[in-house]
């Protein structure tokens, strides 16, 4: 898989013209527009209006909005958000950091894993407004296509994904694991990674990627 298209999806990429330079996100949304245009006139109007409303709903300020200042990937953001906004929704919908994924939205799959003050947590099970003054790191802050984190490179090298949806959460957990009291055996890596579900079943290669990075970092300890 070409990793240029994989990590991360930059909003500025959306200004590029043509399908050739698209990110996956813009490609899919343009695909949606194309199929929309292929339908009959009145249907186009209705759907376009509806999607327009959705956009407005996401950006419009709720009457209950509260001011929140967050630090994400070293950058400060002053926001006004509804208190119900989970950290995950805030990252994706307000800051357009779409690398963190929404899988189950109930703390069961790990796709939304981010680091808060260096520890991995589930961004879907926390309100954004609870995290003022904390250092939040997302997959976008771990590495970039031109400068991959060793764990990202290892995931590419060992083919530790198929569809890629769980991958950013897997990598966030894997990077955190390097500093956790995880024993050298594969079984321990699996236990420490049990909060990240991969529907494609790339588990063997995920374990291999993590063990490769640990081996390189500390040849004595990691098995």
């Amino acid at each position: 898989m070409p990793n240029q298209d994989k990590i991360p999806e930059k909003p500025e990429g959306e200004t590029r013209s043509g399908f050739g330079r698209s990110t996956r996100r813009t490609f899919i949304s343009r695909l949606g527009m194309a199929s929309l245009l292929a339908t009959t006139g009145p249907a186009v109007t209705t759907l376009a209006q509806r999607s327009g409303k959705v956009e407005q709903g996401l950006s419009a300020e709720s009457k209950d909005a509260i001011p929140v200042t967050l630090r994400v990937n070293g950058k400060k953001y002053d926001l006004r958000i509804d208190p119900r906004t989970t950290l995950l929704d805030c990252l994706r919908e307000h800051l357009h950091l779409t690398g963190s994924k929404k899988g189950c939205d109930h703390g069961q799959c790990g796709a939304c894993t981010v680091h808060i003050n260096g520890r991995r947590q589930l961004s879907c099970l926390s309100f954004a407004a609870l995290h003022e003054g904390e250092e939040i790191t997302t997959i976008e802050g771990i590495g970039q296509p031109e400068n991959l984190h060793a764990m990202q490179a290892a995931f590419v090298a060992t083919d530790a994904y198929q569809c890629g949806y769980c991958t950013s959460g897997q990598i966030m957990s894997a990077v955190a694991l390097l500093k956790e009291p995880c024993g050298p055996e594969d079984a321990e890596v699996k236990e420490f990674m049990s909060g990240n579900i991969c529907r494609c079943g790339a588990y063997q290669n995920i374990v291999a990627a993590i063990q490769n990075v640990r081996q390189n970092a500390n040849p004595q300890k990691a098995g």
Binding site: I66, R84, H106, G107, R120, Q121, S126, F127, L130, S173
Partner: protein
């Protein structure tokens, strides 16, 4: 999710004064404290919890683990499960607690979940979590869909005709065997509650899960000093190896001298409507030789009152084997 006002508690007194205005501290509370949020936000998304006010207690100075002069331990309410599990004094003096915590949930959840939140963890009964189904705990008087429904994972001890929901916590089971004390500050002052009195049986009021009243804030939990020469461990049996709730679990804290059990504290998980301290098992073990026959008798005594449902009769035998095996492991180590 229903909208709510989010407030930051400046200090415990302010948090308590805010929450004291609620009509209940139980199911349906209009005002909730939030710690890690791993139970509360999950249930708010399902509309099982619909607080109008959420009070953030994460910044209160309740995040310390400290040795007590008597050799015991005090654990702040917002200490994270990971920090508690890996604390050197917990690993040294209370391995059962460390093992129970590490057998629950995942690294991400343990990094978020708090001590008090784990104490107050809500049941995983699927009928409680699904607002289209009757549930006496969520909606008193609506009936229990689990008794005639899918009840494989539900309780066999401490049930009533109104509710068979299991207390899902592993930590609570270890805390029960360690005879923890829950310290609460409320509108009327401070009080200390032994963990065995903290959680309530469902009876006719399954919506009442603890003795907490409006405004009550769990501030910390204390553990008595470890009994001299005692050993402890937690054994958890479940459908898969990780990230799964217990079908049956056992927390054992025992002292063996000259092949004889001089002291035993036993609690079971996955089978009870509350963390299930078994004084019956303890009675069957104390001053008896550490043999399998004795363990088996104690396990039989622990499960004598079991009332299995249509799909969970297997838990009676599973819980017995779990306890017997835990006792074997604990005495082998001796």
């Amino acid at each position: 999710m229903k909208t709510f006002a989010l407030t930051q508690a400046k200090d415990s007194a302010q948090a308590i004064a805010t929450a004291a205005k609620a009509t209940t501290a139980q199911q349906g509370a209009e005002i909730r404290f939030i710690g890690g949020g791993t139970t509360l936000i999950d249930l708010m998304k399902l509309n099982v919890e619909q607080p109008q006010t959420v009070v953030d207690i994460n910044r209160l100075p309740l995040d310390k683990i400290e040795a007590l002069p008597d050799g015991g331990l005090t654990i702040g309410a917002v200490v994270r499960n990971s920090d508690l599990a890996y604390h050197p004094l917990v690993k040294k003096n209370y391995p059962v607690l460390s093992e129970a915590l590490l057998s629950g949930a995942t690294v991400q959840l343990r990094n978020m979940a708090t001590t008090a939140g784990n104490l107050l963890q809500r049941t995983r009964c699927m009928y409680f979590r699904e607002t289209n189904m009757p549930c006496n705990k969520r909606e008193p008087g609506s009936g229990c869909a689990a008794i005639s429904g899918v009840n494989r994972s539900l309780a066999i001890l401490g049930t009533s005709e109104h509710c068979i929901a299991t207390n899902p916590s592993d930590m609570n089971v270890a805390m029960a065997a360690l005879e923890a004390t829950i310290h609460v500050r409320g509108p009327k002052g401070e009080r200390s509650i032994p963990i065995s009195d903290f959680h309530l049986l469902p009876g006719n009021t399954p919506q009442r899960e603890t003795v907490l009243e409006p405004g009550d804030l769990v501030t910390h939990v204390t553990l008595p000093p470890p009994a001299p020469e005692s050993r402890s461990l937690y054994l958890k049996l479940r459908d898969r190896a990780s990230f799964e709730f217990a079908l049956a679990s056992a927390a054992v804290v025992i002292t063996v001298a000259n092949g004889k059990l001089t002291r035993a504290r036993i609690a079971l998980g996955g089978v009870g409507t509350k963390p299930w301290r078994s004084t019956e098992a303890e009675g069957g073990l104390t001053n008896q030789p550490a043999t399998e026959a004795v363990f088996q008798k104690a396990a039989d005594a622990a499960l004598r009152g079991a009332k299995p449902q249509s799909q969970n009769a297997f838990k009676v035998e599973l819980a017995k084997r779990c306890l017997v095996h835990a006792l074997k492991l604990a005495t082998q180590a001796a």
